[in-house]
């Protein structure tokens, strides 16, 4: 009886959440991923000095999440009313929960930057003695809670990465989005983009040696992260392939059309293929070169951007 009557017309006419949201999802992923990786390396190696990697990660995580906010607010039809979400909380809304998490996370990234760039900020403030005095006073207080802030930063970085997945996985109309794997995939791909960004910034701006012990650690963990990422994408595809009628019809997104190209050339080719080729197929000489290092880092980030684009666009195109 329920098949007897139906409507297929919709009022949204296409993709409501476009590329700014995909870019925001990428930036949030980079921000969280960079901070998680750098702090975990720190914890694991029991480092107490401020390493170039941690410096780079703190800067990257703050800049990307701040830039992400610009994209997020810019995508609103009424951007000047964004403060309404800050005063009306709806605890059943993933977006509200995300906003709460972000309003904790951004101050955490700011504090991480303060710890790591204390010297630099002091030299800038040197001429204004009074402000410098206040700054030093604040830093004395902040330094006492640094271990706590670091742990909280890791926790909230994971929350930020995962929330971006939950944000779109609750959209029941779209089979590609409405999967349990999406938050996990976003955490893992955030880790890979974050690792790439942090290591690039560390070597470029903070003169970290590309073959230092921290960089070696990152290179070791990069590949398992990538493997898990590929596995999760495969799981997503298989779950659609073996799912119900609607889920099966969406697998065409992987098989033909512009989104399939985006997926195979962008995500698979640039994101996974290029770094693999540069690091393993062309011999040690190429793999150790600076060009290969930056190129594969940028390829990783581009791949994750393509993945977010694919998920957002193909996800919303193939609805029920």
């Amino acid at each position: 009886m329920n098949g007897a009557i139906n409507f297929t017309y919709g009022f949204s006419h296409g993709v409501e959440w476009g590329w700014p949201i995909a870019v925001y999802l990428l930036l949030a992923g980079i921000s969280g991923g960079a901070l998680i990786v750098a702090l975990l390396v720190c914890f694991y190696k029991k480092q107490h000095e401020d390493t170039p990697l941690l410096k780079a990660a703190s800067l990257v995580s703050f800049v990307t999440i701040a830039l992400g906010m610009v994209f997020l607010v810019g995508d609103l039809e009424k951007p000047l009313y964004f403060w309404k979400i800050l005063i009306h909380y709806n605890f059943t809304s993933v977006m509200s929960i995300g906003v709460m998490a972000i309003s904790v996370y951004i101050p955490l990234t700011v504090m991480m930057c303060l710890y790591l760039f204390e010297k630099e900020i002091s030299t800038i403030l040197a001429k204004k003695i009074q402000i410098l005095g206040y700054f030093e006073m604040v830093m004395v207080l902040l330094k006492k809670i640094r271990p706590l802030i670091e742990v909280l930063s890791v926790i909230f970085a994971v929350v930020i990465c995962a929330y971006t997945g939950f944000l779109i996985s609750v959209l029941v109309r779209f089979p590609i989005l409405n999967t349990a794997i999406l938050p996990a995939l976003f955490v893992v791909s955030g880790l890979s983009a974050g690792t790439a960004s942090a290591s690039m910034v560390a070597t470029w701006f903070f003169k970290e040696d590309a073959h230092s012990s921290d960089m070696k650690t990152l290179h070791v963990i990069e590949w398992p992260i990538m493997a898990v990422e590929i596995m999760l994408i495969a799981m997503l595809f298989v779950s659609l392939l073996v799912g119900n009628e609607f889920q099966q019809t969406t697998t065409v997104a992987f098989q033909s059309g512009v989104y399939a190209n985006l997926f195979w050339f962008g995500v698979m080719g640039v994101g996974f293929g290029l770094p693999l080729v540069l690091n393993f197929a062309l011999g040690k000489h190429v793999a150790n070169s600076h060009t290969a290092f930056y190129l594969s880092g940028m390829a990783s980030v581009t791949g994750v951007l393509c993945l977010r684009m694919f998920i957002i666009y193909a996800g919303q195109t193939f609805g029920v």
Binding site: N2, I5, N6, F11, S12, L76, I85, H88, M95, L171
Partner: protein, 223 residues
């Protein structure tokens, strides 16, 4: 005399007590009754009666001041090309879900359930137009109003016709009585009388959103 005073005081307490307890009890009973009687508005679209004249669409746009080129309510022609003489139209509009995803996901509580009537509606001033409700709606029947820049849906003319004590504009304008509007919680309402005798369905019931819009489809079993 002393006893008399005591007795009088006792009676006073008894009297006052019974009055207060009684009224308190009564008001509790009243409150319970009120909760029970809170309306749950629903609508029936009868495909057997709809001829696709779109008078409902026109009336809705006029009454609710929907901008040019946009609609809260749309009649989709679902006539089977194989049997072009058997016209079939379907009403496309907000399904007024009991478990509405749009209300659940709205970060600013602009999309809400009206306190008095329980109708899913919008507060355009609080809407930041994040479009979360639009993508969350399983029926894809929400849109951003070009004029107000706020998300919008069919709210049974809550702020317009219903506020004036009239039926929703589409129901009012339907010449063929294909639309019936009423309180599903009121056993004596016409809408319930129809639901008792007719088979009706909900759209996409698998999403578990419990729509308040019911559809009576044309079902030909072959003569």
């Amino acid at each position: 005399m002393e006893n008399d005073g005591k007795r009088r005081a006792f009676l006073k307490v008894l009297g006052l007590g019974s009055v207060t307890l009684g009224t308190a009890g009564y008001s509790v009973a009243m409150a319970a009754e009120k909760v029970e009687k809170k309306p749950h508005y629903g609508m029936i679209f009868d495909q057997n009666k709809c001829v696709g004249c779109t008078d409902c669409e026109v009336a809705c746009r006029k009454v609710n001041e929907v901008p040019e080129g946009q609609v809260r309510l749309y009649l989709e022609n679902k006539t089977d090309p194989a049997t072009p003489m058997e016209k079939r139209y379907v009403r496309v509009s907000c399904q007024q879900c009991e478990d509405a995803p749009c209300v659940a996901v709205c970060p600013s509580k602009a999309c809400h359930r009206d306190g008095k009537t329980g109708i899913v509606t919008m507060n355009p001033d609080d809407c930041i137009a994040c479009k979360y409700c639009i993508v969350a709606c399983p029926y894809d029947v929400r849109f951003i109003n070009h004029k107000t820049k706020a998300a919008e849906n069919c709210n049974f003319c809550l702020n317009t016709n219903l506020a004036k004590g009239k039926e929703p504009a589409c129901v009012e304008s339907c010449k063929y009585k294909a639309l019936v509007f009423g309180d599903l919680n009121d056993e004596n309402a016409y809408i319930n009388q129809i639901l008792h005798v007719k088979d009706s369905v909900r759209m996409k019931p698998t999403y578990g959103t419990k729509p308040s819009l019911r559809y009576i489809p044309v079902v030909k079993v072959g003569v």
